[in-house]
Symmetry: C2
Subunit: 305 residues, 2 copies
């Protein structure tokens, strides 16, 4: 898949995800709650997680526009979005800017932001469990497995646990193993989960060699993503990032850059991209089918915002 | 079922729920998160919702100690608990006391309380979707249905939506229809959902006459619960309630008492209890099997805290 092919593939997927979210997060939800939720999830940046789900599902034989893929992608973006809404709140990172827009609590007030994040999380699990009448093409076993994967990756041993470690780490020196553990939970768990949810949409058996190879890809990509994030936070302006820059250093939070230095962090990100490519080679999948996944790994490492 | 029988039945159910929650919400979750979650959900008051699930499941033929019933009850208590943790936060009700203990944000800080509530919600959905190896006796179709019921009742059209209406209503006069709509979402939806989850554990078909009669019971009980809550808030001391009293009047929030007066509110609660009893008579279930559900409706209306 050439770069223009990938660009048009991802534009098609994202248009579908955006249109589905626009329909599934209704303006009409009570007392402004729907508006706050839409602010938190629509027009939502790079949508790396949704693209990973679609690319993995498609590589394994489930079309990117299948109801399971689309629901999984929207559920994942809602979970990611809720975590940002809550993370931005004054009691957490106190960020006023996100994707170049005022954060939800700035636009709608703290109480509404709290509720909107809560309801975004709930809606994720609701989207994964449609009735037969709403959506006959996602069998109950797949619904249960998608909920299982998403709940485990985003809960206390995954994303929320990573955020708790992050909270506790401010002002402390973490060694590389602890930093890696924190990021594997905080950011890596959802990226890995995106790959696994895509595989689950295509009914790849959990624990099979293909499942394992795809998981290895997801894990390498997740770690690379965080390292690049730290590099960008240390080197880019708020204007390029669409969010406040240099916050980690300011808060005396440990980062890969503070721990290994800029050059070693960049080299590590490149090494992880190679590892992701190698993992894809072990999936036994057709080389052409893997191109979107390869392109996504490249994008993660080359991105500038 | 006599009063002592009901007391010992509910004590047995609650001991099992408490023991399961103690196991499923591990102290070891990262960086104090587990401790904050346990503070929010263990030793958790009346456990009306868990008892409703167990009583409904048992009345319909699924034992109260079946894995489905126990997981449903714990998931429900985690959702109820998360809503209280977030509701107590400074940006919402700013409550410092809950069930006679400091609230989670007082004991663990606001950021940890936010994360703990988030992770409690996630854990609810995780408990409902065990793997076959963890729990072979809850089939995937039942798992998906339990998630569906719980997500819809607690999300934007249910509990979270009701809270958004509540937020928007402070200082405004609501008429009885709007007040009822707010409470049906905010409190009623989870109580109704408890009855429906219990029925789902026993595989009562959704939409069947029995499902409908049980839902009518749950709806009447939910409304009665809120009316009694308003009566208690207006008449009892903080010491009896284990939480701050008179807060609604102080915040100029509309209540059934402010709207209809104390006597009419009490009479309405009694009328709803009769309606709940009549609904149970339409379930076609054995009179003896229904006794815990009848006792719970009585307890909701007679309670003093």
């Amino acid at each position: 898949m050439s770069t223009p092919d990938f660009t048009s593939w991802s534009a098609r997927v994202l248009a579908r995800v955006e249109s589905a979210l626009t329909q599934w997060v209704p303006e009409a939800a009570p007392a402004g709650l729907g508006l706050a939720m839409r602010h938190g999830v629509l027009d939502g940046g790079k949508r790396l997680r949704a693209l990973l789900i679609a690319a993995t599902a498609e590589a394994c034989g489930c079309p990117a526009d299948h109801a399971a893929t689309l629901r999984a992608a929207c559920a994942m973006e809602l979970i990611h979005g809720y975590s940002l809404v809550h993370d931005d709140m004054p009691c957490m990172d106190n960020d006023v800017l996100r994707r170049g827009k005022p954060t939800v609590h700035v636009a709608f007030g703290e109480a509404q932001a709290l509720l909107a994040g809560d309801a975004m999380q709930t809606l994720a699990f609701e989207l994964l469990t449609p009735t037969d009448a709403e959506c006959p093409s996602v069998p109950a076993a797949m619904q249960a497995q998608l909920v299982r994967l998403l709940a485990r990756a985003s809960g206390m041993v995954g994303m929320a646990g990573g955020q708790a470690i992050d909270l506790a780490s401010v002002g402390h020196q973490l060694d590389e193993a602890l930093l890696r553990d924190m990021h594997q939970r905080k950011t890596g768990a959802l990226l890995l989960c995106s790959v696994q949810m895509g595989a689950a949409c295509a009914q790849v058996p959990v624990g099979s060699p293909r499942w394992q190879a795809l998981s290895d890809y997801g894990q390498a990509l997740g770690l690379a993503f965080q390292i690049v994030d730290d590099v960008l936070d240390a080197t880019q302006s708020a204007e390029t990032l669409g969010k406040t820059a240099g916050k980690d250093a300011e808060a005396n939070k440990p980062t890969y850059v503070s721990l290994m230095g800029l050059d070693a962090a960049r080299a590590e990100a490149q090494a992880l991209r190679l590892r992701a490519d190698e993992a894809l080679a072990c999936t036994g999948l057709d080389g052409a089918a893997l191109l979107p996944l390869r392109a996504l790994a490249e994008r993660v490492v080359q991105r500038t915002s």
